[in-house]
């Protein structure tokens, strides 16, 4: 049994076109240089395996869909949502950024602008309200800024959130949770960090009555497999259009 998710990510023709389009667009944006080799450089599995400290120290490289500066901001925000602490690794180690970046090339491609605008507004709000860029704030101040953003308190003319700041917060939180607690096939939940955090014993095809009793006794060992490690499942098929 593998202890590492095998990336059998299936890419449809349409996804390839979309990815090519997004990468092409990113290449035109200053600061997005190096987009082509980006996927491997983001929250790289090897760096993560070297431990949370190494992962945190590793610069968050440019993503396919965001500039280096945007990536730094997003990284700092995601790090506060599920931090690495004495309870174990957090969202960054779990690959949430890699998940979000891939999602922005595919299913969530309509959200790229919302990230751009929202991250800029987050930083602007930090400067206006706390007198410093978000990245330079202490963890406590970052959290208090994020609470304002979550509750809609950062909404207002001049800050730049589209609609309520809470909508931006909820979008990032939702994608982060997908990246941490979703199937590793999508680039997140590295080493099953998310599933281990909540004690989910993993994707299985069959759960016998004996398995259920072990689960109830807290003795069911984690499967540590992606759904796509079971070999039965083919490509994600979307409508051709």
């Amino acid at each position: 049994m593998s202890d590492k998710p095998i990336d059998r990510r299936a890419i449809s023709r349409r996804d390839l076109l979309k990815t090519a389009g997004a990468a092409g667009a990113a290449a035109l944006i200053p600061g997005a240089a190096g987009a082509k080799e980006a996927p491997a450089s983001v929250a790289d599995t090897a760096a993560v395996r070297a431990g949370p400290a190494a992962a945190a120290a590793a610069p968050a490289g440019p993503l396919m869909n965001l500039t280096a500066a945007e990536t730094e901001l997003l990284s700092a925000m995601v790090d506060r949502l599920i931090p690495s602490d004495d309870m174990g690794p957090g969202a960054l180690e779990a690959g949430a950024l890699r998940y979000i970046d891939r999602a922005l090339s595919e299913a969530e491609s309509d959200s790229v602008e919302a990230y751009r605008i929202g991250l800029a507004a987050l930083d602007r709000y930090a400067r206006y309200s706390r007198g410093a860029p978000f990245l330079e704030l202490s963890d406590e101040d970052k959290d208090s800024v994020l609470i304002d953003v979550q509750l809609g308190g950062a909404t207002g003319a001049g800050v730049g959130f589209v609609g309520s700041s809470g909508a931006f917060f909820n979008m990032v939180k939702s994608h982060t949770w997908q990246g941490v607690f979703g199937d590793p096939m999508y680039g997140g939940n590295i080493d099953f960090i998310g599933w281990d955090l909540i004690g989910y014993p993993g994707a299985r095809m069959r759960v016998s009555e004996q398995d259920q009793r072990e689960l109830e006794a807290g003795q069911l060992p984690p499967a540590r497999r992606s759904a796509y490690d079971y070999g039965q499942f083919q490509l994600i098929r979307g409508e051709e259009d």
Partner: protein, 568 residues
């Protein structure tokens, strides 16, 4: 001009829960049947246990017809209608039964006789003001043989509570009499579900396992359920969920009398000058076809059936097919399933590998199973406690006022409590009202430029009173279970789009108030049949699909039996 195809005896529009069942009796009787399906064939290789795909990336809408025709919704005519973001009804061979929860209930006898039973027991004054509810044109006993047939043909597991009048305490004592037991034992219970059943019994209630179109053991050459936990919006990788695409459709194909045409998006139904249907127009890719048939059966979802009729305007039917009495779109209702109740418990529930159809039901407060003399409503709700949990949604749980839902403190909270929540799914009697209806939206269209459905509907006092009463019962149950915290949802206002949508082509003897007759054929166009929950005039307090399938079988069987009268 659309390309004209060879004529068929019967064209069935949509091969989901209803159409997918109807093709078996039709094809087995030797009729030449064409099944047009907007979606495609999918199989167990497509059904990965993948929460991101199933529950966050709209996998059910992978064929875009449902998405492109998503409805608009408003509570009342005074409001402007907003377009909904998406809808989980699926276009595929087998339809939404590929990913549904598969609870397969029979309606209770009261649901067929709401008007006469309410009058008899409480007086006519107890019927809610403004409701257009009627008795069904027949009672439970008429549908019983078809329930029985479908339970065996597709495979339903469950515990009988009333076999020919003999009450079995392990099952639902309130169910109508059935001619025999289910073909399979019920799905298993977990330790937590046993605890819930014990708590219900200590309150004096009758707890029993619910019925499911899911194999509890090997059946018809397919295996029993794997309890893997991805049944909600997910297909079954073991073929243990008994969709028509595994059961009735293959059997119809084996006769050689059914042709399945996938990716066929039906746009309109054609009629001749006398008002009889002559066939349907459909689009596949960029090509247009006309499929002639002697009988047309429409078997889309409620919104699709109503829309197809309203879009099929002609000299004979200027306001839409079979709508010369203005009844298409009327008597609409969305099942009241909201107003939920949730709890935080002081112990783990072991729910990671359950499924929504695996659970404990209490029917003591459904339908007219209890005395309503001192109450201000009729009907009630079915309490359903299921075992179902997946990691992303579980980690997104509310914190019951115990701190914010992110950060280091949250990590501690979620590690302790992620498997300690439970929520009730309470399906409630919902009635049709004179000002709740479906029509064509004046503004929004699909990708072909055809208007989408507009829902104008809201819950009324009767539904809200049931909701409040059932929330009290749910809270009692959670208190008995030792809940630490209990939350209650709002009682309901706008009906909105639903996966339990009924009416719009209601079945009844009176053509002034009903679109189809007691057999499911249009009063105005006798060779047009309608299959699906759009013919149902009451919801009951439980899932509609088995009733939809029993009705579909019955309509198809009637067509076979009365072929000459209907087709010629």
């Amino acid at each position: 001009m659309p390309r004209q195809l060879r004529s068929a005896d019967v064209v069935v529009v949509g091969l989901g829960a209803a159409g997918g069942v109807s093709v078996q009796p039709l094809a087995e009787a030797g009729l030449d049947v064409v099944g047009l399906e907007a979606g495609t064939w999918l199989d167990r290789r497509d059904f990965a246990p993948d929460e991101i795909r199933n529950n966050y990336r709209d996998w059910p809408m992978l064929v875009k017809k449902t998405f492109n025709e998503r409805m608009t919704s408003r509570a009342t005519e005074e409001q402007s209608a907003n377009r909904i973001g998406g809808h989980p009804m699926m276009n595929a061979v087998g339809g939404t039964t590929l990913h549904y929860w598969a609870q397969s209930w029979r309606l209770n006898p009261w649901d067929f006789r709401v008007v006469s039973e309410t009058r008899r027991r409480y007086g006519a004054g107890r019927l809610p003001a403004g409701s257009t509810v009627e008795d069904w044109p027949f009672g439970y006993e008429e549908l019983e043989p078809y329930y029985d047939r479908v339970e065996r043909e597709i495979g339903v597991s469950g515990q009988a509570g009333n076999v020919r009048g003999d009450i079995d305490r392990r099952g639902n004592r309130f169910e109508g009499p059935r001619q025999r037991a289910y073909p399979m034992r019920p799905l298993r219970w977990t330790a937590y579900l046993e605890r819930m059943a014990d708590a219900a019994r200590s309150l004096g209630w009758h707890a029993f396992p619910g019925p499911a179109a899911i194999n509890s053991e090997a059946y018809q050459g397919r295996p029993g359920c794997g309890y893997h936990g991805f049944c909600s919006s997910g297909g079954c990788p073991l073929d243990a969920k008994n969709s028509p695409h595994l059961t009735t459709i293959p059997r119809a194909l084996e006769t050689g009398n059914l042709r399945v045409v996938p990716r066929a998006h039906v746009t309109t139904i054609e009629v001749d000058s006398s008002g009889r249907t002559t066939g349907v127009n459909y689009v596949t890719g960029n090509e247009e076809f006309f499929q002639p048939a002697r009988v047309v059966l429409i078997a889309g979802y409620t919104y699709e059936n109503v829309r197809l009729l309203l879009l099929s305007k002609s000299r004979a039917y200027p306001e839409g097919l079979a709508n010369n009495h203005g009844q298409v779109g009327r008597h609409y209702l969305s099942h009241h399933q909201g107003a939920g109740v949730g709890a935080l418990l002081p112990y783990d529930t072991g729910a990671w590998y359950g499924l929504p159809a695996q659970g404990v039901a209490v029917d003591d407060f459904a339908d007219d199973n209890f005395d309503h003399s001192g109450l201000d409503f009729i009907g009630g709700g079915n309490l359903w406690a299921m075992s179902d949990r997946r990691p992303i949604s579980a980690a997104s749980m509310g914190t019951y006022g115990r701190g914010r839902n992110w950060g280091s403190a949250w990590k501690r909270f979620i590690r302790e409590n992620v498997d300690r929540t439970h929520s009730f799914y309470i399906q409630k009697t919902t009635l049709p009202y004179e000002d709740n209806y479906l029509d064509l939206d004046p503004q929004y269209t699909d990708e072909l430029g055809l208007p989408v459905i507009r829902i104008t509907a809201q819950y009324k006092d009767n539904e809200r009173a049931i909701a409040a009463y059932m929330q009290d019962r749910a809270e009692e149950w959670y208190r008995e279970l030792g809940a630490l915290e209990i939350t209650r949802g709002g009682l309901g206002n706008t009906m909105g789009a639903s996966t339990h949508a009924y009416g719009g082509t209601r079945m009844g003897d009176d053509p002034e108030t009903n679109v189809v007759d007691r057999w499911g054929f249009a009063h105005e166009a006798p060779n047009l049949g309608v299959l699906g929950a759009s013919v149902m005039g009451t919801s009951g307090a439980r899932n509609p699909t088995l009733t939809v399938q029993a009705l579909a079988w019955r309509t198809a069987q009637h067509l076979v039996d009365a072929w000459r009268d209907i087709a010629e």
